[in-house]
Subunit: 398 residues, 2 copies
């Protein structure tokens, strides 16, 4: 991992507390701001959501956020009233050590659904984790590792920008959806910046960034009970960003960090042999373009065809047809890796062997769908569906 800096005033730490089977494996992370930060967050839309989601959701937006505590190996979801108590206790223990209110600490958990959290181990490890809080790149890497479940690499991204004499930094960390153990089905991200923002602006920036990044990826279409993305802005870089240009610059940096993290999740998708980018262009509504892209991305037939390096365009065109968006066949044009395959509703002659060779040779596949309905576009990322994905997810672990 390249050296990635935290924004000014932020610290991180990751330790092993014994939730995961391997006692040396980091599974408890804290991200902290030395001064109160503005915090906002977006959470899973699953009606069944983990205890940490319920606790954190009630605490944002905030002006005085000091830390986020995250454990991996156990999602603390579907655990009833005791789960809520455990999530609250995690935050109050951090708050005690950082000399702040429990409501200034947010909490996330990721891992197995439906098992009680080993709260004693977490409670015992929190003081050591707080003691290790540090602004260095290696502390950030430790924290990113402590969030991982079946991820194979930690995921961090950062951008620096100049804005009216200030140097602003945006740094984010994420874990992906990975599900070998019973119910590892969670995507978590924390994005930190030293920009000075008010709550409404921070919230608006986060929502836009999420819409363009995490909401545009899918590994298997199964929405988790614990998805959470948080933005912390502590203002340590200087005064508030007031003009539109400065805000647009910061929005771009947050978009870029979120997109880097979303793509890193796709690249680390379980059993994935191909990363698929789907562009849908020329729709009447932005939502229409997104929905078509998502439907194509989630079709098991499209995903298995790409696993087999098969430019099987009939599966793509038929997935468009059942997306729920009204389209006319004669308005569809399809390119795979820039090769024209289907134009205005009719197949064209192309070298299928050559396109297949390209697909076999590269980890990246590009599906480009062009319509004549309007001016709105969407981009979506997904993985292929391999026998290895099935193997990983059907291993008996209960």
């Amino acid at each position: 991992m390249a050296e990635v800096k935290l924004p000014r005033g932020f610290q991180a730490a990751g330790v092993a507390c014994g939730i995961k089977a391997d006692p040396l494996c980091r599974d408890l992370a804290i991200f902290a701001s030395q001064v109160p930060a503005v915090a906002c967050a977006v959470f899973t839309q699953n009606h069944v959501c983990g205890a940490p989601v319920q606790i954190s959701r009630a605490r944002v937006p905030a002006d005085d956020c000091r830390a986020v505590i995250i454990n991996s190996g156990n999602a603390n979801a579907c655990t009833g009233r005791i789960g809520l108590d455990h999530a609250r206790e995690m935050t109050s223990e951090v708050a005690r050590l950082l000399h702040c209110e429990p409501k200034s600490v947010l909490v996330c958990s990721t891992g197995v659904i439906g098992q009680e959290l080993p709260i004693e181990r977490i409670r015992s490890a929190i003081p050591a984790c707080v003691a290790e809080l540090d602004p260095t790149a290696s502390a950030l890497e430790h924290a990113a590792q402590a969030m991982m479940t079946t991820d194979t690499v930690p995921k961090v991204a950062s951008r620096e920008l100049q804005s009216h004499g200030q140097t602003l930094r945006v740094t984010g960390v994420a874990k992906g959806a990975a599900m070998i153990a019973p119910n590892m089905a969670t995507m978590l991200a924390v994005i930190m910046t030293d920009a000075r923002l008010d709550r409404a602006t921070a919230d608006s920036i986060l929502r836009q960034a999420v819409q363009r990044s995490f909401n545009c990826i899918s590994v298997d279409g199964h929405t988790s009970t614990s998805d959470s993305v948080m933005l912390l802005a502590n203002g340590e870089a200087g005064s508030a960003l007031r003009d539109a240009e400065a805000l647009a610059g910061l929005q771009q940096a947050v978009d870029d960090v979120a997109t880097d993290l979303a793509q890193a999740i796709i690249r680390d998708g379980e059993g994935a042999e191909h990363c698929i980018t789907i562009d849908v262009r020329g729709m009447r509504e932005p939502g229409d373009a997104h929905r078509i892209a998502k439907t194509v991305a989630e079709s098991p037939l499209v995903k298995t065809a790409i696993a087999g390096a098969d430019p099987n365009w009939g599966r793509i065109v038929s997935a468009i047809g059942y997306s729920g968006i009204k389209v006319r066949e004669e308005d569809i044009t399809l390119r795979i890796n820039t090769t024209l395959i289907y134009r205005s509703g009719a197949p064209v002659e192309y070298d299928a062997g050559l396109v297949s060779e390209q697909m076999r040779a590269s980890r990246d596949v590009h599906i480009d769908l062009e319509f004549q309905h309007g001016a709105h576009d969407a981009r979506f990322w997904t993985t292929d569906l391999t026998a290895e994905y099935v193997r990983l997810n059907s291993e008996y672990t209960t």
Copy 2:
């Protein structure tokens, strides 16, 4: 296959015309009524639909239907104007030989998407197929075989009932969704009865039967371009069914035949090792129950867990949560194969090893979800997701 009778006045035939690679493999079927029959049909809701769907849709409901012609090995979908000409020509050739109008003949095609139909071979074979039309069980079996793509067994079902002195028969034939070759993604069924029905009644009976059978199954959630279910009623059993009891009896027979065929499709699902029945009970609206059942049925995580004989209830409960139907965790109770796993929003102690053993030993798995929201239930059938499914669908065939 058990001996299954056609209703009075119906005949069937299936021949090999050379669309499929194996020249001995049957790939052209005709179902015919010796007298004009009432016909109605329901078709795929995919906005991209095959030429035969477009032609047949315009011809129902009808009072004077004489035949349905079906070819396998080529879906005649995404084939533009020439595809429509070919579909029309198939019906006019049958009509010429049966001395009726082309509009009295319906047409279906199933197989590869996007390839021009070998119309000469079909045209040459139609006279032989018409000459073989016969009311016997073996003729019906030949026709059922000629509809198959990657199905491993022909699918027929039949019911006989007594109604005010009449003996009524309902016989149906179907093929499943199976997709080894580029784009075999089609479910077709023809249901025939000798009951005397008017168009409106026939249509109502078919729609209700489809709602309870074919609309309650999913192999991979990918709606095909060619799905078609047709009901032909030729009245050869006697006079019209006028009273409610007689109609209810016939409705039940058509429901049963459609459900048998739908389950046969699931049992023959590609690579499937388990057939999963999902019951959702106690919802406010029938649509809510159906949507929750469908969401659970289509989750790749639920399907891979069952492939691994893993009673992974967290995946089931979290799928409920993202179905789009508002539910409260504390209102969910889950049983797998009658074992209570999760009650009123909290896990219960159960013998996971024993449930797993049961799942490993039996091809059938039952997921029972009980809510406290109302009085509406739904039942849905699906397959598990195995590495074999992925292998079958990722083999390079373009």
